[in-house]
Symmetry: C2
DNA sequence: CTGTTAGCGCCTTCAA
DNA sequence: TTGAAGGCGCTAACAG
């Protein structure tokens, strides 16, 4: 089923058919109607490969995430897909698994398919890969990080906002010994979150206790291990803030394994508000990072660069807010042994 | 960066470059080496749009899932992506959200991008959409369902196997009042699972009690509601088998809300073994449906049809096995009121 | 073994 | 307002 066939049946040239389906205003309405009729009858639709080839535009956007298996991403992907499709773009999703080789393959694929832009929602990305894309003038959006360059923008997440709310919430419940379990500190985004936490503590006049800052890796196991280590160290916290919800789930598990309970002995706060956060036991108090908005901001920023009319490199700032559920409660009066 | 440029620099014709990068064995090794050198230097890679156009093969496979947000799917997608990429295929993922309109858009997109085959891992699919694909001779693989037609195959999941194991496990723990919460019965796949359960009960000589068969919708909320209704009905079960893990999580929540505990009062068994199953409270005993194997079977079945050398319509049968964790324990001696 | 050439399906000048 | 014709970048005969 090609354009030729439509042209033949409608008694016009292929040029006219092309103009018609592209809504060119020069076609005679009558002719157009006739062409559309044939198009419908035949169930014709243009071959996007051919279109891309001639126009040089693939109408494909790349979306790179670190791990599609982390519940944070599917919602982001869905949001991105929705807005992309809505705007006539296809998306090419790829997860890197935090693996350099995979990332390289991933970039290569995007290049081969001639993506018009790439949203890089992964925590870290090899510089030379970014350069490969930049070199071919492929617009990019990043999350958190802010690489320089023409056509490169970034969406900023206001971690401080949500973290402050979380800390205030805990303080108001009487907590003073508040711990933090970060993501892998090799990642800049993890450091940003940790910094936000430390600043918040400082802001409310709480002294930092090194024993109360652990390092996870954004997985349940990571949280479990980090918290287990922290509990072994002594100087127990009465509340823990985790840098994402998976970490928080691991943290709760560790607390329970130690024979303590959440939230009576230790309150736990997560970050992200993945859908399942509502269904953990107890339901998780967490800081919500709205994936849909993130997806929309990222898409918007990308498109502005694709159209080449970006005025700014900032793709916008995303607010985060605390969602209170049942994994937090008033702090116990400190036991004698703790000080 | 086009093939011309490479040809010019290597001092050969574009045909030779084409042959070289396609590993045609007729090229003189010396020439080939020279060409490859230029290719590397220039960082040249072929334009896949152009390739597709001339070859008529897009090397893209479609993957349709019902809801990327359901933790079952990301792992399936990842597995599918891995094996596809490994075989030189790109994948186009799309979630239907159980919505007819979205499904239609989805099929349209696949058709436009000229996918060479589609894996339909969603529970149900409008017949006329399937026909659209079938009509263009696009090979398909389905999950569970078994539509007829040339180039259409399906992967069968042996639900009975896992369900039997689960029922045996519960029986051996002394349970006799075993409930089941199904998926939406409008879906054939949900009915298949329910039938497997009922058969298992029957096989072990347990009478069916209508009050003990509820209907959920494969979401946490669905499980929560179904179980809440069941608890209100009286004739309490001592164990519940849920048709997927999300339903099981909802079920556990309902049990707790009713002031009972899992597993002491009611044992709960899930289905799928999503990654988070290990981290629920208590860790979920569940029937594992291996997503990687499913992905591989689906891919294999699809490719066989793409290559046009399928000997059979069956894409293989997938075994399921019980994974015992902590949401099941021996049944209580029945309370007086229960009989 | 290598080069020439004819398209793949479509969009886009350039004429009419 | 329409049609004819020239590519887009690449592969696949067909000649040399």
């Amino acid at each position: 089923m090609k354009i030729q066939e439509v042209a033949r049946r409608a008694g016009v040239s292929i040029a006219t058919v092309s103009r018609t389906i592209n809504n060119s205003s020069v076609v005679d309405p009558k002719t157009a109607k006739r062409v559309w009729k044939v198009v419908e009858e035949l169930g014709y639709y243009p071959n996007s490969q051919a279109r891309s080839l001639v126009s040089g535009k693939s109408r494909i956007l790349g979306l790179i995430v670190s791990d599609i298996t982390n519940p944070f991403f599917p919602e982001l992907i869905k949001g991105f897909e929705d807005v992309a499709i809505h705007n006539g773009y296809e998306i090419l999703v790829s997860s890197t698994d935090y693996d350099s080789a995979r990332m390289a393959v991933c970039v290569r694929r995007m290049l081969e398919r001639k993506v018009e832009g790439v949203a890089i929602m992964t925590s870290e990305m090899d510089k030379h890969l970014v350069d490969q894309l930049a070199h071919r003038n492929v617009p990019m959006v990043f999350l958190d990080v802010r690489p320089a360059g023409e056509g490169i923008s970034h969406v900023e997440v206001d971690y401080a906002m949500g973290v402050n709310e979380a800390v205030e919430h805990l303080l108001s419940l009487g907590h003073r010994r508040i711990a933090f379990i970060s993501g892998p500190l090799g990642l800049k985004s993890a450091r940003i979150r940790r910094t936000a936490f430390l600043r918040a503590l400082n802001r409310y006049g709480i002294d930092e206790d090194k024993r109360l800052v652990g390092e996870g890796d954004h997985t349940v196991d990571g949280g479990l291990n980090a918290m287990t280590r922290m509990l072994a160290l002594g100087g127990l916290p009465t509340a823990v803030l985790a840098s994402n919800d998976l970490t928080a789930i691991g943290t709760m598990r560790a607390v329970r394994r130690a024979g303590l309970s959440v939230p009576q002995d230790i309150s736990v706060v997560g970050f992200d508000d993945i859908r399942l956060a509502e269904f953990t036991e107890p339901p998780l108090t967490t800081v919500r990072l709205p994936r849909n908005e993130l997806a929309e901001l990222a898409f918007g920023a990308l498109i502005r660069n694709v159209d080449g009319q970006a005025k700014t490199r900032s793709g916008g700032k995303l607010e985060t807010h605390l969602v209170i559920r049942e994994s937090t409660c008033p702090a116990r009066a400190p036991a004698v042994s703790e000080r």
